[in-house]
């Protein structure tokens, strides 16, 4: 059968089982027979009808009248007409404005009440517009209104079809469809729909009977049912397990942060110790100590963010300052001939936002262990137009390796290890590279099983001008990996800016491939 019986609600089941084919089904009938509330009836009708298990055979519209608050008030305090008569009986005669003012009525309401009652012979007006009572007996109409109000106040909903002609006439004057706030009754339309079982409905009913499903099966199991044992001997309704699950909001790690964390764990497992540092550095550590000449084009104002105030560090630690200055000027003790220019000791103290992770490597050299392996995933800043491939700030993953066994072959071996362990590479290709602070330098390109060829990162042996100035005598390898690019790939994103998205919903839904 097409209908999944598990998707039927107990109300639907009870209704199907409680009626017969060909029978006329009405809310009133169902309420009585099945002990349903009106709302439950209508709900069951609606669901069964949508499923094609019952169908409409007739639909009639009838008018009903409901008493309003105004009507209740009139019933209690007296209708305007009754109060006018009461007032005039006491006062004698009065002009209409006086009557209106005394009773708190509008002039026009007094006027129309007078018109009605004078026609009925209850009131009269003399030449001076004084109104007085002619006969105090309420008219039939007024009696009818009274009776209607009494019934309405008792809670009865008055059916138009059940009212007599006289009652309908009287009701016409005191009811309104819209804007009924100033009328005694509100006119409303009710629809009566009659249903009957369809053949499909009859089939389902037969099936339910055969299966012994009564609609009395227990839905939600409550603590009371469990402790009282009330569930025993009853069936527990089977649910439609294919119905879509509702969403749950949860606490969660950010997938980009998780990826970086995985990267850190991976590097730790390869024997690397983590380092980090402050966001504000000096030109000394960020560039000069790395033997980048102060006139190198990457040192221009257009690559690095300068701090406004303070603009310079108070001092640079010795003997590093002297060593580096000497290295730049004439090579110092490093075995180099140096750059051959006058080292600027003011420029070197300039404060900048760190532009490369290698600044951490430079700072680590004076206290690095030998052998030693270090890494950092550092937030760096570069002066660049912000777009899909450049952020104002971004992560760089960098590190160093110190030891007697550092040479070109172990450099290639380290890159291969990164390529396989960190990036899952199938193939590896080495290309001569260039970094201002390493010589020789190698770039590594990898072939990923899904993403094809891309540049993973690079490495080089620190120039002795760098390491010897920091008191390091063994060769030191410096390396860098493009983790952000890998993060984009694993998260299925194309735009670096998405990694730092502020949109809560899109971060909530982001997950790894």
């Amino acid at each position: 059968m097409d209908i999944d019986v598990k998707s039927l609600h107990p109300l639907e089941i009870k209704m199907l089982r409680g009626v017969s084919s060909g029978e006329e089904l009405t809310p009133a009938g169902m309420m009585e027979r099945l002990s349903f509330k009106l709302g439950q009836c209508n709900q069951a009708f609606s669901w069964l009808s949508a499923k094609g298990l019952i169908t409409e055979t007739s639909r009639t519209v009838r008018t009903v009248f409901e008493i309003t608050d105004f009507g209740r008030n009139q019933e209690q305090e007296g209708t305007a007409e009754e109060r006018i008569i009461g007032f005039l009986k006491e006062k004698g005669a009065a002009k209409m404005p006086e009557i209106a003012a005394a009773l708190g009525l509008e002039n026009k309401d007094v006027g129309s009440a007078f018109g009605q009652m004078s026609k009925e012979g209850l009131l009269e007006m003399d030449g001076d517009k004084n109104v007085s009572v002619k006969s105090a007996d309420p008219s039939d109409r007024m009696k009818t209104v009274r009776a209607l109000l009494a019934r309405g106040v008792k809670g009865e909903i008055l059916e138009e079809s059940a009212l007599s002609d006289a009652e309908q006439a009287a009701m016409g004057g005191i009811s309104k469809k819209r804007g009924a706030a100033a009328s005694c009754f509100k006119t409303a339309e009710r629809e009566d729909v009659v249903y009957t079982l369809t053949p499909a409905g009859a089939e389902v009913k037969k099936f339910l009977e055969a299966q012994g499903v009564t609609g009395e099966e227990i839905g939600a199991l409550t603590p009371e049912m469990i402790s009282s044992g009330a569930w025993k001997g009853k069936a527990l309704r089977e649910y439609n397990i294919n119905a879509p699950a509702s969403r749950v909001l949860l606490g969660r790690r950010n997938p980009y942060a998780e990826f970086l964390q995985w990267g850190k764990d991976k590097l730790c497992s390869l024997g690397f110790e983590e380092f980090d540092g402050p966001l504000v550095e000096t030109e000394f550590w960020n560039g000069d100590a790395l033997f980048m000449p102060q006139f190198h084009s990457a040192r221009d104002i257009h690559d690095v963010y300068y701090v406004k105030n303070p603009s310079h560090a108070k001092e640079i630690e010795q003997p590093w300052l002297d060593n580096v200055a000497a290295a730049h000027e004439n090579g110092g003790d490093t075995g180099s001939r140096g750059w051959g220019y006058q080292f600027d000791r003011d420029f070197t103290r300039r404060l900048i936002l760190r532009s490369q992770g290698t600044v951490l490597s430079a700072k680590q050299l004076p206290q690095a262990k030998v052998p030693g392996k270090y890494f950092g995933i550092a937030r760096c800043f570069r002066y660049d137009q912000v777009d899909a491939t450049h952020g104002a700030d971004f992560y760089q993953t960098e590190g160093i390796m110190l030891g007697e066994d550092v040479n070109l072959k172990t450099l290639l071996g380290l890159l291969k290890m990164f390529a396989e362990e960190v990036a899952g590479a199938e193939e590896v290709r080495y290309v001569p590279g260039y970094f201002p602070f390493t010589e020789p330098s190698i770039e590594v390109h990898i072939k990923h099983p899904v993403l094809g060829w891309f540049e993973l990162g690079g490495s080089g042996i620190f120039r002795p001008e760098v390491t010897r100035s920091m008191g390091v005598d063994v060769p030191v390898l410096a390396w860098g990996l493009g983790i952000d690019r890998m993060a984009l790939m694993h998260l299925g994103l194309n735009d670096l800016r998405d990694l730092f998205s502020q949109d809560i919903e899109s971060v909530r839904l982001r997950r790894r491939n």
Binding site: D276, G391, E439, P440, D503
Partner: protein, 566 residues
């Protein structure tokens, strides 16, 4: 890194053979170059050069030369170089330097070219080389500016003078009028770009011939007549002025070698200085000033990780254009005329590695044993993150640069203590964040459509001014968190803080906090061992209004470095 455009057919004339694009990509790696693109209309190759210490590679001729030699071509010899022991005859080709230039723009190198007409390809290359050398290597003409002139119109000696900026006038290339030097700075596009290099001096550099006919106003612009070189010209005068004699001399050597390789004859020019220079008072250029480079064989072997034979080393260096010989325990090599990148024996090592070919070195795993570990801050940060996730928070990650509007004004704060960038790209990236709260509020402000409640946090860095530090600033690891919900109130954030501090095992007290970001009487300081380590409370509706947030918000921020210390 400089990019050059190269006419393919010409290029293969210099490399000595043609290449498929795939093979070209392979061989370019020896010059640290990459094939970026092929122009779909012209078929020209666009090549990126990654070595900033090899300006000789930034031209069709120079790059072609390196590849030709790498593939087995002979190392060229150039007969037009003077050196310390050998001064070539410059005949009447002399440049005289004005003493006043000593503190303005002291150095000039020059040579003349003849013997072959300049064709379109060579002119295009010359212009490209001039551009790349002067921009990338010459620091945007500050340390090297180059001029090319029609030598037929020049009567020697050429005068390199310091001239009055207002009284000196000539018609510059690209303009109809005669202008003074200062006017050129104001009105000519090259004057606007390069004039500032000399504009602060009371006299500007100026080049004329013996008759006073104008060659150019270095470093800005040539004259319209002598300085307007065209296709078909045969006799040229080329000069470079600047502030650093070695790089200037190298630049001149590079251009001279390029022209020689293209079949032109280079003629020396003698420059006469009235003051001392590192190369003396009279320098005939092109000038070979480079000293031989050397490296201990043991050093080479150690750095490469294997023992190479002397033969291997010499052959490898030859492929890089360096004639080498083994002298006892070391190798000594002659630095090519067009290179000056050997500062340390390490530079020799790299040339040997590339010369022999990277693919000939077998990767080897490092053998040293080292223990890996995370930093204390990272370990602690992870514990805090996990607790926050357990409390139902979504972790966010935000940029560290922002605007004064977001970090200061919308938060009702004053600008004291904030680290400001002196050269921001835009006002959106002008301040370093001193708190995570603005980013969290920014998130809430744009996430009105996300299902409530919102619980978000970040563990990240902030930085602010601190005069007790050498850099005048301090960087901290912070936790920042925020809840937005119709039911959010002090009780909620109080519970969250209480749970967090319980699970990091820290006892704490709270103290009333007066802070313009929070509702008075609904904000607290967190004290651990009497020291303030954080704040929390209900965010003030004024702040919510500033951000356009329509939901009650509670928030808190904790200094994790202080909390860790306990």
């Amino acid at each position: 890194m400089p990019k050059i455009e190269v006419i393919e057919k010409n290029f293969y004339g210099y490399t000595g053979k043609s290449y498929s694009h795939q093979d070209l990509v392979e061989v370019l790696t020896a010059a640290k170059a990459e094939l970026d693109d092929v122009d779909p209309e012209t078929g020209n190759l666009k090549i990126e050069l990654n070595d900033t210490n090899r300006p000789d590679l930034w031209s069709t001729t120079g790059l072609g030369r390196q590849l030709r030699i790498y593939e087995g071509g002979a190392i060229p010899s150039y007969g037009f170089f003077s050196s310390a022991g050998k001064t070539l005859d410059a005949a009447d080709r002399v440049v005289k330097v004005d003493p006043a230039l000593k503190d303005i723009r002291p150095y000039i190198t020059a040579f003349a070219v003849t013997g072959k007409t300049i064709d379109e390809a060579m002119l295009k290359d010359l212009i490209q080389t001039q551009e790349k050398l002067c921009w990338n290597y010459g620091r945007k003409r500050r340390s090297i500016a180059m001029g090319v002139y029609r030598s037929d119109l020049i009567e020697y000696p050429v005068q390199y003078r310091a001239a009055d900026p207002d009284a000196t006038k000539f018609q510059p290339l690209g303009m109809e009028d005669v202008l003074s030097l200062r006017e050129i700075n104001e009105k000519h596009p090259k004057g606007q770009e390069y004039g500032p290099i000399v504009a602060d001096f009371n006299k500007f550099p100026f080049l004329t011939d013996n008759r006073g006919d104008v060659l150019s106003y270095p470093p800005v612009i040539n004259s319209a007549r002598i300085g307007a070189v065209e296709v078909g010209d045969e006799n040229l005068f080329i000069e470079m002025t600047g502030t650093d004699l070695p790089s200037l001399t190298l630049a001149a050597s590079i251009v001279a070698c390029d022209l020689a390789d293209a079949g032109h004859t280079v003629l020396p020019v003698r420059v006469v200085y009235p003051y001392d220079t590192p190369l003396g008072r009279e320098v005939t250029t092109p000038y070979y000033f480079q000293d031989p480079a050397e490296a201990d064989l043991s050093y080479i072997n150690k750095m490469l990780g294997e023992v190479l034979s002397s033969d291997e080393i010499v052959k490898a260096l030859a492929r890089m254009g360096c004639e080498a010989r083994v002298d006892g325990e070391k190798v000594v090599l002659r630095v090519p005329e067009y290179r000056n990148d050997f500062l340390h024996a390490a530079d020799v090592v790299e040339d040997v590695a590339i010369g022999r070919g990277l693919e000939t070195f077998t990767p080897q795993l490092p053998q040293d044993y080292t223990v890996g570990r995370l930093s204390e801050e990272e370990e602690f940060g992870r514990r805090v993150r996990n607790i926050m996730v357990g409390l139902g928070f979504q972790e966010m990650m935000y940029n560290y640069l922002g605007s004064s509007r977001d970090y200061i004004e919308k938060m009702n704060l004053s600008p004291e203590g904030f680290i400001q960038v002196a050269n921001p790209m835009s006002e959106n990236y002008e301040f370093v964040r001193a708190s995570i709260l603005p980013a969290l509020l920014g998130s809430e402000a744009i996430s009105g459509n996300a299902v409530y409640p919102h619980h978000i946090f970040e563990v990240g860095k902030v930085a602010f001014l601190d005069d007790s530090e050498v850099t005048g600033t301090t960087t901290r690891n912070y936790l920042g968190f925020l809840s937005a919900d119709s039911e959010a109130g002090f009780n909620l954030v109080n519970s969250q803080i209480s749970a967090l501090l319980f699970y990091v095992s820290r006892e704490y007290q709270v103290k009333e906090l007066s802070d313009p970001r929070f509702i008075p009487g609904r904000a607290a300081e967190i004290l651990v061992e009497g020291r303030r380590i954080g704040v929390f409370g209900e965010i003030h509706p004024l702040v919510l209004d500033n951000w356009g947030i329509g939901m009650p918000v509670t928030a808190g921020e904790v200094d994790l470095d202080l909390l860790l210390k306990g």
